[in-house]
Symmetry: C2
Subunit: 333 residues, 2 copies
Amino acid sequence: MIETPYLLFLGDAPDQLAAKVAQGIKDWRPEFALGQFRMDGCKADMKLPDMDLTEAKAAGAKTLVIGVANRGGVISPAWKKVLIQALEEGFDLASGLHNLLRDEEDLVAVAKACGRTLHDVRVPSVKYPIANGVKRSGKRCLAVGTDCSVGKMYTALAMDAEMRAQGMKSTFRATGQTGILITGDGVPLDAVVADFMAGSIEYLTPDNDDDHWDLIEGQGSLFHVSYSGVTMALVHGGQPDALILCHEPTREHMRGLPGYALPTLEALRDVALTLAKVANPDCVVVGISVNTQHMSEEEAVAYLGRVEAEMGLPAVDPFRHGAARLVAALANV
Amino acid sequence: MIETPYLLFLGDAPDQLAAKVAQGIKDWRPEFALGQFRMDGCKADMKLPDMDLTEAKAAGAKTLVIGVANRGGVISPAWKKVLIQALEEGFDLASGLHNLLRDEEDLVAVAKACGRTLHDVRVPSVKYPIANGVKRSGKRCLAVGTDCSVGKMYTALAMDAEMRAQGMKSTFRATGQTGILITGDGVPLDAVVADFMAGSIEYLTPDNDDDHWDLIEGQGSLFHVSYSGVTMALVHGGQPDALILCHEPTREHMRGLPGYALPTLEALRDVALTLAKVANPDCVVVGISVNTQHMSEEEAVAYLGRVEAEMGLPAVDPFRHGAARLVAALANV
């Protein structure tokens, strides 16, 4: 569990896209995003108050979150100086970088001397159990995709935000590094050892109030041969009561797999629901989330209308039109 | 890759069952099983020549394989003495124990001093790639089960043995600790990190002659919620051309999961084939392997006849009746 609120470290980000982790935190947990720390030459701007470490500390920030991708997989000396100073001033550090904070000897030494914590969210920090399949109380919704990177995390975050706004009980359950940094907690599923994958998701989504919904962040796709095992563990470990099908209609082949066509939404529905019913016979598919970013508004609306008619389920792009109809579809579950 | 042939260490095995790894090696790779090493009080007997370390070395043994489960998860002082002496006399050590050889400081020190290797087959020793899904040459057969521990490894080993006997080109590809110790090579799939599971199976079953068959050892079940992600990685990473369905008809619930009924063979066929076709559109289900150990011969024959008629596929218990009909079914693939 990462302590909040955060000071977002944007470093020397070459552009706005390089700081997409910071953007995610600002968009979805603005209450965690007290301010931003930008170095000389930083080209990203979250439109948050610029703060130095002392100002952020005084404002109550607990953790400096690296909200930017580093270049070349190296934590530069310029970054290092800020990170060390942050530890000295009493911040924990949190990072989703491939190269780990814990592999930097100087950071480890200073963190130890100052009694601070280094959070590398790419690495599991919990000894997860093997899944036991026991039915848990509360409700769970899982987004499953025709492919990787079609908007599953966005869909779950948007539904969670809508449910909170409506006063419903919900929790977004992060299963990837960006989601973990946004919420401060979660399971880095792609780094979990095979035998414990499903168990890690049971651990992440424990018993809860009967009217509470976990919105579980999806990973991969049952149809993506590189990562389908990870998705399978979410379907069985998550015991979803409701599935949302996620799709990006303009993609020409599966991400990173030339020659592999995307499945149809019907094929995804049939396979995902069959498998989900193993863990939860009452599971239903409640809606479809379409990422229409490469379509005009007119194209998007026409496409969504067609899918909705064909599938007999609400079909929306939560980025364009909000997640209210997907949330409404949960009411019958 | 573990050097063969082996001296099989049976230690102080309390009964024959405790030495099932040694039994597997003796049954399936008798040419690797030069002799057995038994300590005082050993109740297991592989009907192999009893050898001390010097005799085994003279006979050409390269590796002392721990063919017995230890009690209480501790490598006892009595065992330790033999293991250290084996290293000193020039043997490598190989083990599938939960507690690792590499965690024993004295073994590590002696192995280093003597230039010997400690093989802990529960732990991956290779940095596996992420699966790329590229079609490979040669043929692959995967056994998938309605449940865990229904005879998938046995089926693949029996088919491999039958194919070798017929002069066909085949390789058993181990994905679990016992299989790895039997053959000296393989992937400990349940210990691989999630993102690399399917890639480890691509690595294990590379391009081969067009008329060569990999018999891939199955793991878990698509219907077992604790391990289904592991199975999924085999289905997609293995790109099977042929599936064998494995079943144990007397089981009352999924192994370790009270309340979870076993799927029907039809349900397994439909789900496994649908998913396998994602990676290999030409995949077919060729036969059914039934573990009838809890049935009389008469019951078994009647059951197999019924399944064969219902499913329209050869249904055999390879332990009772051999694997020849399953191998014959591969001819049409």
